[in-house]
């Protein structure tokens, strides 16, 4: 203990500073090589992917507190605006329309991607044909029955066969947490276009930017060609 008695408090090597600088170095290295590491981690943790959030798979995003669940009895999709025959669809009405199936990736603008997701539902062009597009309509606006979230597409984007009013996902009805019973799936665009809890579709004269687009995201959300990202197309 004699050395302690002699040594003044605060003498010694600047280890604290070295730790801080070391962490900064490790952090920078992690940013540089983390993309590769993360995909290895994803593969290694795939069997327990549901347990660790960082291990891939879907993440739950909602912009409101809670969304009232809707089902067979109380779900309604209203399609109006510049439509020739505005009408309201029940789930049974949607099932009576021609059904489209496609299996495509889901890419989030924050970086995560879920590969080979099987979707089924009504292709948006088929739904638009069912109501008829009136003169003057150049865009389609979508409303979530969460009361807050909106999105839109140009009319030509909305006429693509890989834009779906989806009622099935991964072989089962779309669950509430994934935006069920009916959500949008815009295959070629980032996930924020694929609005959850679809409650209304409106044909409009022009594109009205959606929830995240008013907060800085690109209105044309092509995967790999927007938001400064270069992801592989879905």
């Amino acid at each position: 203990m004699t050395s302690d008695d002699i040594e003044a408090d605060g003498s010694g090597a600047p280890v604290g500073r070295r730790i801080v600088l070391g962490m900064l170095g490790l952090g920078a290295a992690g940013v540089a090589v983390g993309a590769g590491l993360q995909s290895q981690v994803n593969r290694a943790l795939a069997p327990i992917g549901g347990i660790i959030p960082a291990a891939g798979g879907f993440r739950y995003y909602s912009v409101v507190g809670d969304v009232p669940p809707r089902g067979e009895r109380d779900y309604r999709l209203t399609v109006g605006g510049l439509a020739e025959r505005p009408r309201t669809f029940t789930l049974a009405d949607l099932r009576a329309l021609p059904q489209t199936r496609l299996t495509r990736d889901f890419q989030c603008v924050t970086g995560w991607r879920v590969e080979d997701v099987a979707w089924a539902g009504v292709a948006l062009p088929d739904l638009l044909d069912a109501v008829g597009v009136a003169d003057g309509a150049t865009a389609v606006r979508f409303r979530s029955f969460d009361g807050e979230y909106t999105e839109s597409l140009t009319l030509s984007q909305a006429r693509r066969r890989d834009v779906l009013v989806a009622t099935e996902m991964l072989g089962k009805p779309v669950t509430h947490d994934h935006g069920g019973p009916v959500r949008l799936y815009v295959a070629p665009m980032y996930g924020y276009k694929s609005l959850k809890w679809l409650g209304g579709i409106e044909l409009t004269r022009r594109v009205v930017p959606g929830y995240w687009e008013r907060r800085g995201y690109d209105v044309d959300a092509w995967v790999g060609r927007s938001n400064g990202r270069s992801d592989e197309a879905t």
């Binding site: 203990m1 600047p14 280890v15 962490m23 992690g30 912009v63």
Partner: protein, 197 residues
Amino acid sequence: MKRPERRLRRFTRAELAVHHATAALMIICLVTAACLYVPEIAAAVGRRGPIKTLHVVAGLALPLPVLLGWASRAFREDVRLLNRFGRRDRDWLRGRPAAPGKFNAGQKLNAAFVAGAILVMFGTGVMLTWPGPWPDRLRTGATFVHDWLTIAILVMFLGHLWFAMRDRGALAGITTGTVDARWAARHHPAWDAVRKH
């Protein structure tokens, strides 16, 4: 008659303010992170827009308490003491009998980790908040670092609370700013305030 216990001033108001403001911002960051990130909590809480804003604002503010604290001489002296590791810290870390100064080696390691973690989380957080200039590879790398360091921070945070809860003397020091002189003599014998006492 029982003698009133003698108290030593361990922290000034400025030092306490730096600690409490940093702790409050860190707790806001951790709670909002859980709401944004853990699927079950995210599903129950929702409100992604305002929670994201709160997380970003608290994160950006996280370095401020220390920067403002630099105006305090007492705080600068604490940083100097926390930075230096001497013979007594090596003994303490090896579990040998040691006579710590104002801070023991565990407290010093915690302080260095917190400082480093705040800087790395600040840097990667800025990259994620304003991703414009960065290619995807670096954005994913920043996400990787931000995600995994969060888990390390949570572990350190819980450990820090655990040690504080188990030591009433230390807890009194960080809440009231003063400590019992006998506690200080036992746990921090080489602290100048004890030596002069």
